[in-house]
């Protein structure tokens, strides 16, 4: 394949780039104790929450950003970031869709998530996070009937303080890492889900995150608890408008699965990746961790990562309960000057725990991508099993794809298998498709989609369609 044709294919425009012109209630940039107090006060939080935040802040001050990832970026000025941005008039927040600013709805429309349709047709409740404050929550009542709590984390702190206090920070401690500590200090919103014992959540829960105001970091915090024998599937989509500056996104997601519970967490991440020269784009530094606390519990992460200038993300599972299961299915696509260092950690603590990792990386343009994963088998994890498959596909000769799998195995009854391959699209596969009359771009798209099949089939149906579309957009014009 000729390289200039490849070039063309690699080039594409960010299709979600537009800015919603809504007045924001934004604090001036900078971070100190008073900023945190301001956030806490704005959120009408109890005293313990403020103390918790400040504790995290003091730990953060003593920490340094991680340097081990295969990433390059200039140091971030944390005093130049504004830590709070909420749409104006918080007193009269819309109570239903009709009351929502039509411009906002239009934004969602452009994002391809028409709330009405989505809510009504697909039966999905959307807790839409616009910048930092949860604007509207649908289907609350239906969920209420089932006993499922689905609300913003701010609301949860006010309405269900015992639940929040019991679980917050128990999976990702305040000082877990630099970005988690920062998040713990300044998080502004995010989702809270509690599924009570024996309840199978009657619908898929979905949140769309979107970074809008310039220079505002987004620090959402999500906490999902599945009680005994409960089940939930949670979808998270992320996108952000085009900006010249780099914006920081440092989220924390904590999942807790008690006995026999099952949490499925799917992400389609399409933050703005910056332009061809690497200007602008989101720094996506996210800590996601699930705790399989109960026996036979199961946590499954599925992610399709196509956006962000830099992605630093390792959705992980702590497999404590006996026979608990952790899964990680990932497709990461980088193009232009994007950098991604992503993967997972499977920490096997309990007996007969099992984990599966399937990671597919596609690097194009001048991007750089790394899979970094840890499989740890503790001494008590008798009979633990892991299977890891990670494959990288390179499109063009200006990109890089790397694999860093760590295995720490301390039990003789464990079985751990890891396979990885790196290659380009095979010429004979391309030839075969073209010899059937399919043009090269479509052939590449077909082959790449085939390459990702094992992961896409883990996504809920509508997300799978979106993911395939996104993949094609990302690689649009990317093959000659």
């Amino acid at each position: 394949m000729a390289s200039e044709e490849m070039e063309q294919l690699v080039r594409r425009e960010y299709k979600q780039g537009f800015v919603t012109d809504i007045e924001s209630d934004t604090v001036p940039p900078g971070l100190d104790e008073s900023t945190i107090a301001f956030i806490s006060q704005k959120k009408e939080e109890p005293q313990w929450m403020l103390e918790w935040r400040l504790e995290a802040y003091h730990q953060w001050l003593k920490m340094t950003p991680p340097s081990w990832a295969h990433l390059e970026y200039p140091p971030i000025d944390y005093q130049a970031i504004s830590y709070f941005s909420a749409p104006k008039k918080p007193e009269d927040r819309p109570q239903s869709l009709d009351e929502v600013d039509p411009k906002l709805l239009e934004t969602y429309e452009k994002l391809g998530i028409p709330l009405h349709e989505r809510a009504a047709l697909a039966g999905v409740a959307v807790d839409a996070v616009f910048d930092s404050v949860s604007v509207t929550t649908t289907f609350k009542e239906k969920l209420h009937e089932a006993g499922v709590i689905f609300c913003s984390i701010s609301e949860a702190i006010r309405e269900y303080p015992e639940l929040v206090r019991q679980y917050l920070g128990t999976v990702v401690p305040q000082a877990d890492n630099y970005f988690a500590a920062l998040n713990s200090a300044v998080f502004t919103d995010g989702s809270f889900v509690y599924v009570p014992e024996g309840v199978k959540c009657p619908m898929e829960l979905s949140t769309y995150f979107r970074i809008n105001a310039a220079n505002t970091g987004q620090f959402e915090r999500t906490l999902i608890i599945c009680d005994k024998q409960a089940q939930v599937s949670y979808l998270e989509g992320c996108t952000a408008p085009m900006r010249d500056e780099n914006q920081l996104h440092a989220a924390v997601v904590e999942l807790v699965a008690l006995e026999d519970a099952y949490i499925k967490y799917s992400t389609v991440q399409n933050w703005y990746p910056g332009d061809e020269e690497g200007k602008g784009g989101i720094y996506n530094f996210v800590t996601k961790r699930g705790d399989c606390r109960g026996d036979r519990s199961r946590i499954s992460w599925t992610q399709v990562e196509t956006g962000s200038a830099i992605t630093w993300k390792y959705p992980s599972c702590m497999l404590r309960g006996k026979e608990s299961i952790g899964e990680f299915y990932s497709v990461a696509v980088t193009n232009g000057r994007q950098q991604a260092d992503t993967g997972t950690k499977m920490i096997h603590i309990g007996e007969n725990t099992r984990s599966t990792i399937v990671a597919k990386g596609i690097a194009a343009g001048r991007s750089d991508q790394a899979y970094r994963g840890l499989v740890k088998i503790g001494p008590r994890a008798k009979g633990a099993r892991n299977y890891t498959q990670c494959d990288s596909l390179l499109i063009g000769d200006q990109c890089g794809a790397h694999t860093f799998p760590y295995q720490e195995i301390g039990n003789s009854t464990a079985t751990v298998e890891h396979e990885a391959t790196t290659s380009k699209i095979a010429d004979d596969q391309l030839f075969y498709c073209r010899a059937r009359g399919i043009d090269e771009e479509d052939a590449v798209s077909m082959i790449v989609n085939g390459f990702c099949k094992d992961v896409f089939q883990e996504l809920p149906m509508e997300f799978a369609v979106e993911a395939e579309a996104l993949l094609n957009v990302t690689l649009e014009g990317s093959v000659g």
Binding site: I395, H402, T403, P405, S412
Partner: protein, 445 residues
């Protein structure tokens, strides 16, 4: 006094009479070592290996090369070879057999080469392993006063293996040695070189060896590192290989001995057609700790590498495998394969493995696999259904696991010795009293 200072004190005490250029080189090594200090587990390269046992040690430098002859005969490999022996880092003319070297082959102790201000010392030595590679290469550069220089003229095919035996004694006070090995193979030269580490059973010395191998166009070198030192010995080694066009380097890194062993093996495939094969085996017991770090740099198009490392771990031993394949930008049409398989025989053993691929070219075929597990229960069953008792079945399968690497070993003396060692040292529950005979009986049946 800090640990580096304590080590370097021995240097100032000893090396007053060096020629100025040697002194300058030592100085550079010492300065770098002092600046770096001993690595800690916070260094990614040393994440799983704690070298405090070395850093906290107090090691003297040996002054003689006396060694019990009976023990020597028992330890040495029974092969027809050109032989050079170091005892605690000191050259033993008495135990070495350097006569009858064919034309085009030079094999001499580093001290002689240094005394003669030999061009090899000033030129090639240190070209591949500078002071920046690790604190240990810096330390070696500061201290190296003995070692082995092998030089092969272009087109020379050496008729017999070159056998370097490094013995470690059970001294009253532990000693350290910093041997330096240089192998220079001219165009189309071919040789087999064995580095064999062995010694007295209670030796508790620190060996810090650096080997540099330069392969010119079309040269072929088989390099063996057979580590059979006492289970109390401390050992750090780095092997650096530079390969020219169409050259072949076959490494056999076979590790049975040592309390703490760290080996770094780095090959630079610098021209088209260069090919490297890494074969590795470690069998560890008790509280042994073995760390293998391998790196293949594909710096040129159409270069090939194939790596297969296997580990068997028993008791409370710990194994580390970190294998990295690096493909440079524009180094197209690369094939690189890497495999690491481990067998844990005990619940308290631990293996940490990290096979890495770092790839900047797109027309590549690279893959790696790492598996850790137990013996195939179906195979155990199959053997039992033929009337073999279970411990025996497990022992046989463990040998078979090791066999895949041993099959590649071309020096039979070494293959047999390692297999016997593995068989003889498998846990008692494996009932290995007469395993080899049984194995033979099965083969005949």
């Amino acid at each position: 006094m800090s640990a580096p200072e304590r080590f370097l004190e021995r240097l100032t005490a000893r090396r007053a009479e060096d020629p100025s250029w040697v002194a300058a080189r030592r100085q550079a090594g010492a300065a770098r070592f002092e600046a770096l200090g001993f690595p800690t587990r916070r260094d990614e390269e040393w994440k799983y290996t704690d070298v405090r046992r070395i850093a906290e040690g107090d090691f003297a430098l040996a002054t003689d090369a006396a060694f019990d002859t009976a023990r020597f005969d028992e330890q040495r490999l029974d092969i027809d070879a050109y032989r050079l022996v170091l005892v605690d880092g000191v050259f033993s003319a008495e135990l070495s057999r350097l006569d009858g070297l064919p034309a085009g082959v030079s094999l001499e102790p580093l001290s002689r080469a240094m005394a003669a201000n030999h061009e090899a010392v000033g030129g090639s030595l240190g070209r591949l392993a500078g002071v920046d590679f690790s604190p240990f290469t810096a330390l070696n550069t500061a201290f190296a006063e003995e070692g082995v220089i092998v030089r092969l003229a272009p087109g020379t095919v050496v008729d017999k293996p070159i056998y370097v035996l490094l013995l470690s004694r059970a001294n009253e006070r532990p000693v350290m040695s910093h041997p330096r090995v240089l192998i220079e193979a001219g165009a189309r030269a071919e040789a087999t070189i064995v580095e064999h580490y062995s010694g007295e059973p209670d030796a508790a010395n620190f060996t810090n060896v650096v080997t540099e191998v330069l392969l010119d166009r079309g040269a072929i070198v088989d390099h063996y590192k057979l580590q059979e030192a006492a289970l109390t010995d401390l050992h750090v080694a780095s092997i650096h290989v530079d390969q020219g066009r169409d050259s072949r380097f076959n490494s056999y890194n076979l590790n049975l001995g040592g309390a703490l062993v760290r080996t770094d093996l780095v090959t630079d495939l610098n021209a088209e057609g260069a090919e490297a094969a890494y074969n590795g085996l470690f069998f560890v017991q008790g509280r042994q700790h073995v760390d293998n770090h391998t790196l293949v740099n594909h710096n040129a198009p159409r270069t090939f590498s194939n790596e297969n490392y296997k580990g068997v771990l028993d008791d409370r031993s710990r194994g580390v495998f970190n294998g990295k394949v690096f493909v440079k930008k524009d180094a197209q049409q690369i094939e690189a394969y890497q495999n690491n398989a481990n067998l844990l025989l005990s619940d308290r053993a631990e293996i940490d493995t990290k096979p890495e691929l770092v790839i900047y070219a797109d027309d590549v075929k690279c893959s790696h696999g790492a598996t850790t597990g137990q013996l195939d229960e179906e195979a155990v069953y199959a053997l039992r259904s033929r009337g073999i008792d279970e411990p025996m079945a497990r022992a046989l399968l463990t040998l078979a696991f090791v066999g895949e690497v041993m099959d590649k070993v071309r020096l039979n003396v070494i293959a047999e010795r390692v297999e016997r060692a593995v068989a003889g040292r498998l846990p008692e529950r494996f009932n290995l009293a007469d395993l080899v005979e049984t194995a033979e009986a099965i083969q005949e049946a």
